[in-house]
């Protein structure tokens, strides 16, 4: 069986799609495509068996990659926090505080969504908590059903973008950039996103005041100082936890991994403070963290097998040629990639996109001079929408799962539309305004957007950040500084 080398990569890409669509677990399907085409490649003489012998070392490299340890730590932190009732307390307090304002409950949901997003990082946890607590109150006091479900689902998905988010850690690893830079870069868009959401509610409260009624005064069960105290009691420990994780990482005091570990320990302390740290809670947290981490790492192992062979048949060059030949330069590339990822996100979840698709896109992006931190944040904004668009959006699923039966599915679906639009607007803002991302990163690498085409890779990009003791990071830096030389 002889297949010309030029056909191998497209065939392999097609094989990937077919193998994954069958519906067998992604990790093993990926490994199977890789090995299947690996043996065809060996038969055809494109490379020899030594290529496959590199596999165990790659798997070992995944083990020894300190950064990936952040996956179980952040997941553990999230699972503890989502079970310790923190969200419930926060929502109750903020709802009481903002409730009597027109649109107040919606603002409370957005705020709490942002705080929860920073500390737990799981969309499911935020959406479920807010859907269980805020949705019934909103319905009782006559909020428009579509608006209520939409704001909850959308606020739940902000989680993806707001640092310290696991999504950004994984993107940083795949893009070969420091986590600190991605965190710093995501701060601006996170703020704008929250502001956009609030502005939308503000607009609605003027145009359609009966959609977002102010709650009657009797709604407040506590007032004055006790209310303020309750809000603070809900907020302050969470903010300390956020600082503990995010602050130490951004200031370079801790590696992202250590930040995650301290966050998880802090989460246990926080749960203990609220008298909710129990043995079953800890056990459940450990169990689900272990299974999620194994699942995620095995997707990475599968995609490592795939990409090793894919590079062996020059697939990386094929993709790069195709993408860099797109008309419209940087903007054309970004628009194409964003539309591509937007549609992929209908079918693939975040980790699959990060491990399979990002490695294919990143070299091409670097090649035409796109700042990879900006690129990563942009993709992160984009992928948020995948949680929101009907009919596959996860946030909508979770909400459907816990919403009272008199909430119609069509309300949830239609309710999501304005928010998907706001998220896409956000992606557009990030494309047109790169400084929103880049100006938060270390000053010496700030990029003038008008000169983005001739941007030079600064080998000191990562200096002063936390990855120095990680040999992989160093190696990645070296690879990054020569983006036209694909690593074999």
């Amino acid at each position: 069986m002889m297949i010309p080398l030029a056909w191998m990569a497209p065939l392999m890409f097609g094989g990937l799609i077919v193998f994954m669509l069958i519906g067998y677990p992604v990790s093993f399907s990926l490994a199977a495509v890789g090995l299947f085409f690996g043996f065809i490649g060996i038969e055809s003489g494109f490379f020899n068996f030594a290529l496959l012998q590199a596999l165990p070392e790659r798997v070992f490299g995944i083990m020894a990659n300190d950064l990936l340890l952040a996956i179980p730590f952040f997941t553990f932190m999230g699972t503890i926090l989502e079970r310790c009732g923190l969200a419930e307390d926060l929502l109750d307090a903020m709802g009481q505080l903002f409730g009597p304002v027109r649109g107040g409950l919606a603002y409370a949901v957005i705020m709490v969504g942002a705080v929860l997003g920073a500390i737990t990082g799981t969309v499911a946890a935020s959406v479920i908590a807010m859907g269980l607590i805020s949705l019934p109150i909103m319905m009782r006091y006559g909020y428009d059903m579509k608006l209520a479900t939409g704001v909850i689902a959308a606020s739940g998905t902000i989680t993806q973008l707001i640092p310290p988010s696991l999504v950004l850690v994984v993107l940083a690893d795949q893009l070969g950039r420091s986590v600190g830079d991605l965190y710093a870069g995501a701060i601006g868009p996170s703020i704008i996103q929250v502001v956009l959401f609030c502005l939308y509610i503000l607009g609605v409260s003027f145009v359609k005041p009966d959609w977002v009624p102010a709650l009657p005064k009797e709604f407040r069960t506590i007032t004055g100082w006790p209310l303020v105290a309750k809000c603070l009691w809900g907020m302050v420990p969470s903010l300390i936890l956020i600082f503990l994780v995010l602050g130490t990482i951004l200031m370079g005091l801790a590696t992202p991994t250590e930040g995650g570990a301290m966050g998880a320990v802090g989460a246990m302390a926080l749960a203990a403070m609220h008298r909710r740290l129990t043995w079953p809670l800890l056990r459940q947290g450990m169990e689900s963290t272990m299974r999620i981490s194994s699942m995620v790492i095995f997707i990475l192992i599968g995609s490592t097998v795939f990409s090793l062979v894919f590079r062996g048949v020059d697939g990386d060059l094929w993709i790069e040629h195709m993408l860099t030949a797109l008309p419209g330069g940087v903007v054309g590339f970004l628009i194409f990639v964003n539309i591509f990822v937007f549609f992929l996100a209908f079918f693939l979840d975040f980790f699959e996109i990060a491990f399979i698709i990002i490695p294919l896109l990143a070299p091409a992006a670097a090649h035409i001079g796109i700042d990879l931190v900006w690129f990563g944040v942009l993709l992160c904004v984009n992928m948020q929408t995948s949680f929101m668009h009907p009919p596959f959006g996860f946030a909508l699923f979770y909400l459907r799962g816990i919403a009272p039966p008199n909430v119609k599915s069509s309300d949830i679906y239609w309710g999501a539309f304005p928010w998907v639009f706001l998220q896409l607007l956000m992606a557009l803002i990030v494309i047109l305004w790169p400084e929103l991302v880049t100006s938060w990163i270390d000053k010496d690498v700030t990029i003038d957007p008008s000169k983005i085409q001739i941007q030079i890779q600064n080998p000191d990009d990562d200096s002063g950040t936390s990855d120095q003791d990680d040999p992989d990071a160093l190696q990645r830096q070296m690879q990054d500084s020569a983006p036209t030389q694909p690593a074999r």
Binding site: L21, P25, S27, A31, M63, F73, A261, I297, D349
Partner: protein
Amino acid sequence: MQLLLRLSGLIDALNERLGKIADWMVLLSCLVSAGNAMLRYGFSISSNAWLEIQWYMFGVMFMLGASYTLARNEHVRVDIVYGNVSERTQLWIDLLGGILFLLPATIIIGWLSWPVFHNSYLINEGSSNAGGLLRWPIKFFLPLGFALLTLQGISEIIKRTAALRGEYKLASKYEKPLQ
């Protein structure tokens, strides 16, 4: 078939036990890592052995945990087709996927990783960091993990076959993991 199902039960029990060990690695590695960070920045104490033990535990976590995750049917799938076909078709997908995708992959990678461990063991390979740990014990988890996955894959194939013949009822149904 009954004999095979007994074998499958044994494999499941083994991997569930090992899965419990993997659970503990989450908590332990977390405490070790947080402890490392605090000692380093609080008291300028740092030890390569302790820095390495945290990723050793991480490796043990997913190499031992993956097979239990498979047993619980929690490896994520693309379910636009899978979610819309009959239960019988799902069993067939799992059965054929197990034979054509999973087993070849785990057997080949496991087989390739044995020499990696064995060579490391023969030269008693140590860490390249001062005061680091021996490398071969953690490298042992590469072939071990893939061997366990192979076993679990066989167990899943047995269960699917039995279910297709109506002799067994699967305990776990696939649900997309929360995220």
